[in-house]
């Protein structure tokens, strides 16, 4: 078996043999990020270690392709899955070619092409294994691995069926049914029924392959879609993916921010300090001093609305708050609906799911009262504001017709460096109904619509630039 596998993999003598290429494609589809350089390395190292020892091959590929513990376990899973199906394919292939050799001598339908000849026999005998093999062969011939989008399903199904010679078979059936005699008819009835089943199994096969090979494109497509779709419209499954995206984004932002902080004016000599430092050597500059620009850490306070009116959003906003908390070191977070509480500790100590659950449990889904929440802030935390602090408010500014307490917001604005409001509603609905957005807006440095991941990313990266 091992030898066969090796031969199978290396049948073309290519470095990147087809199975490896296919495997890489499958692995990409399953979410591993594999660059071209990595696939070349994979091919080179597989050429060195060979396929004789599956465990070593697996370890080798895992070293090159999976770059974190999560990816490693993902990789193991894919590897087993993929090479199991390959082995299976190979073994069925062998058994049945022999069988076919035997049987093809007994039958002789000269008017049907060779392909459909085999097909007819298999159908008549209802030999599922041979049929599966024929499907796999035909799929291989028409290069089914190129399938990318679910819209191509029918196209590929038809191509496979044609390749198998189904058209010739159907023509034969219709020709025969015109000149049918009574005892033959049952045979053809059976046949056409089985063709129907065959169609279904080919469609199934294509669907499965689509899952294997098409996932990469579909996945990318979905991510793009997610980034620009309204968060309140997402379903639970999308939310999981969203969580990954949010984390990625927070990481990116944190990296960019770290870079900003490190940027220094290197290359300019600080003459004064150099002289001072080198006094001991009679002013000969042994040790040089360079001018450095110190960049302050941003101080950020985030106030997040978690009331019923933004219920669909609040989970997401909290998720982002969590990510932001990981990315920035000096951040305090607050959540409110009727009253306000500080949630920095919860975000710091719990995992993201638990933190969100806990916060929503304590304070979420009540009817919002911006006035009383701002009063809470005024009483407890306003003294922590400094001229360096950036205040971000996430909310729809709908206070159920309660007193908006604009003067507190004004106070917050004057005592902080900047006040930014991110509103999940579109601008057209600001100020309608119980929305106090227009009353708050004059004191904010910036009011931005924010209801997709992309909005959020832009807004936050802008804040980071200005707050440093």
């Amino acid at each position: 078996m091992q030898h066969q596998e090796q031969k199978f993999i290396f049948e073309n003598g290519h470095l990147a043999s087809k199975p490896l290429r296919q495997f890489l494609q499958v692995a990409r589809g399953a979410g591993l990020r594999i660059s071209a350089a990595e696939s070349i390395d994979a091919a080179r190292s597989v050429a060195i270690v060979g396929w004789n020892n599956k465990a070593i091959t697996k370890t080798t590929l895992s070293l090159l392709l999976a770059k974190s513990p999560e990816e490693k376990s993902q990789f193991d899973h894919i590897f087993e899955l993929y090479f199991k199906s390959q082995e299976f394919l190979k073994s069925t292939n062998n058994e049945h070619t022999e069988e076919l050799d035997k049987t093809s001598n007994n039958f002789n339908h000269s008017d049907i092409s060779q392909h459909s000849n085999e097909l007819t026999e298999a159908l008549l005998r209802d030999d599922q294994a041979t049929l599966a093999n024929l499907i796999a062969q035909a799929a291989n011939d028409i290069e089914l691995e190129n399938i990318r989008l679910f819209t191509q399903k029918n196209l590929y199904t038809r191509r496979i069926l044609e390749r198998m010679g189904i058209r010739a078979l159907e023509m034969k059936i219709s020709a025969q049914s015109e000149a049918q005699s009574i005892n033959e008819s049952s045979d053809f009835d059976v046949l056409s029924e089985r063709i129907h089943t065959l169609r279904n199994s080919v469609r199934d096969y294509v669907e499965r392959q689509l899952l294997l090979f098409g996932r990469a494109q579909s996945e990318q497509f979905r991510e793009e879609l997610l980034k620009s779709s309204r968060i309140s419209n997402l379903n639970a499954q999308d939310l999981i993916r969203m969580r990954q995206l949010v984390r990625q984004m927070a990481k990116k932002l944190a990296g960019r921010y770290a870079k900003m902080r490190k940027k220094r004016l290197r290359g300019q000599l600080d003459v004064r300090r150099t002289m001072r430092r080198n006094m001991a050597w009679g002013g000969i500059p042994f040790v040089t001093h360079w001018k450095q620009k110190r960049i302050e850490k941003p101080k950020v306070m985030v106030i997040c609305d978690v009331s019923g009116s933004v219920a669909a959003m609040s989970g997401f906003l909290l998720m982002f708050l969590y990510a932001l908390n990981e990315a920035l070191s000096d951040i305090r977070s607050f959540a409110f609906s009727g009253t306000m509480i500080e949630v920095s500790d919860i975000l710091e100590s719990e995992s993201v799911e638990k933190a969100i659950e806990k916060i929503l449990e304590v304070i979420g889904f009540q009817s919002s009262n911006y006035g009383s929440s701002f009063t809470d802030f005024d009483e407890n935390w306003i003294r922590f504001l400094s001229p360096k602090t950036t205040v971000i408010i996430l909310g729809d500014a709908r206070g159920n017709n309660t007193d908006p307490k604009v003067e507190i917001l004004k106070n917050i604005a004057t005592r902080s460096k900047q006040l930014i409001w991110l509103n999940p509603e579109y601008e057209s609905s600001w100020g309608t109904g119980d929305s106090d957005m227009h009353r708050y807006a004059p004191y904010c440095k910036q009011v931005t619509v924010c209801n997709t991941l992309r909005h959020l990313e832009n807004a936050i990266s802008e804040i980071m630039v200005h707050s440093t």
């Binding site: 990020r33 660059s35 370890t59 870079k259």
Partner: protein, 316 residues
């Protein structure tokens, strides 16, 4: 290079060679070293503290008889500490000497052009290798026999430093602006270790083989302890390993790793322990666990754990 390749013919060779130095490796580790040799790629070793990441580099160095050059990373590490530095003092002295000598050198020529000619002939040695102070990375490239370069705890360094490492990791060369490219005489075998305190950049990960060393299973850990503490009796060894393995499944702040198991085994031998009992465990628990709260958690369970480990040692 040829020298090393004589050593390394197969994955099994590596496993045996490392075992001779007292490092018990597994297929994964040996395969990683093998591929790294063949493809000349660095290995990025990740895993919890104390599972033998740094030890791997040391053992490789002993086995291959190559010097080990170690660079410990920390926040703020930059190229003047990692790659090279000019010997400013010497350079200044050189200019002083030049000032004194220049008169006699150019005094023979009578015209300004002649003097300039002389100066050009003089050679530009101010920025030359003579005044270059090699730091670990440059040292590693300059080893005539090759070496093992260990870049330890890369996750502690800054992100810019990571980017700076890319050139040396992929091409085994560095660029010094005043001199040009310096390529490795013999490409070193590079190991980077990380405790994953932060995520490393994709560019760095892409250039490396990614080896994850986790906690070993019971059999491997027994082998490791046995090789490090040879005079331990079999029964105690089994008990120790079984106990630590169980301890790892508890909810602890920091689970004990292999190096702590080794320390513990050494301590128990010092105490002339032949059988693990609850009292001995309680007295020596602080060797395994480094947090007060962890010790508290474990102490409640020591009795059951000890008994279980006793049973485990009797079965086998």
């Amino acid at each position: 290079m040829s020298n090393t390749q004589n050593h390394i013919q197969s994955i099994q060779d590596i496993e045996n060679g490392l075992a001779n130095t007292g490092y018990i490796s597994n297929t994964q580790i040996s395969t990683a070293v093998f591929i790294a040799q063949q493809l000349q790629k660095p290995i990025l070793v990740e895993g919890p503290a104390g599972v033998g990441k740094t030890e791997l580099a040391k053992s490789l160095s002993t086995w291959l008889h190559k010097p080990l050059i170690r660079m410990q990373c920390y926040e703020g590490l930059d190229e003047s500490k990692a790659l090279y530095e000019w010997k400013y003092g010497k350079q200044l002295l050189y200019t002083q000497i030049l000032k004194d000598k220049i008169g006699s050198v150019i005094s023979e020529s009578d015209s300004l052009n002649g003097a300039l000619e002389k100066l050009h002939d003089f050679g530009d040695i101010f920025f030359s290798r003579n005044f270059l102070e090699p730091r670990p990375l440059l040292q590693a490239l300059e080893q005539p026999e090759g070496c093992i370069l260990l870049i330890d705890e890369i996750d502690k360094s800054d992100q810019e430093f990571e980017a700076f490492l890319l050139e040396i990791l992929s091409d085994y060369q560095v660029s010094v602006p005043e001199i040009g490219k310096i390529s490795a005489i013999v490409p070193p075998l590079v190991l980077l270790t990380s405790n994953s305190t932060r995520d490393l950049g994709d560019a760095l990960k892409r250039r490396c083989l990614h080896l994850h060393i986790g906690f070993p299973d019971e059999r491997l850990e027994e082998k490791i302890i046995n090789s490090r503490v040879p005079d331990i009796n079999k029964k105690l060894l089994k008990q120790i390993v079984s106990f630590v393995q169980q301890l790892r499944s508890l909810d602890l702040k920091k689970v004990p790793s292999v190096s702590e198991t080794i320390d513990w085994a050494k301590v128990l031998i010092l105490f002339h322990t032949s059988i693990l009992d609850t009292d001995t465990v309680n007295e020596t628990l602080n060797v395994l666990l480094k947090f007060e709260s962890d010790i508290e958690t474990a102490r409640k369970q020591t009795h059951t754990l000890t008994q279980q480990s006793q049973r485990a040692s009797e079965i086998s």
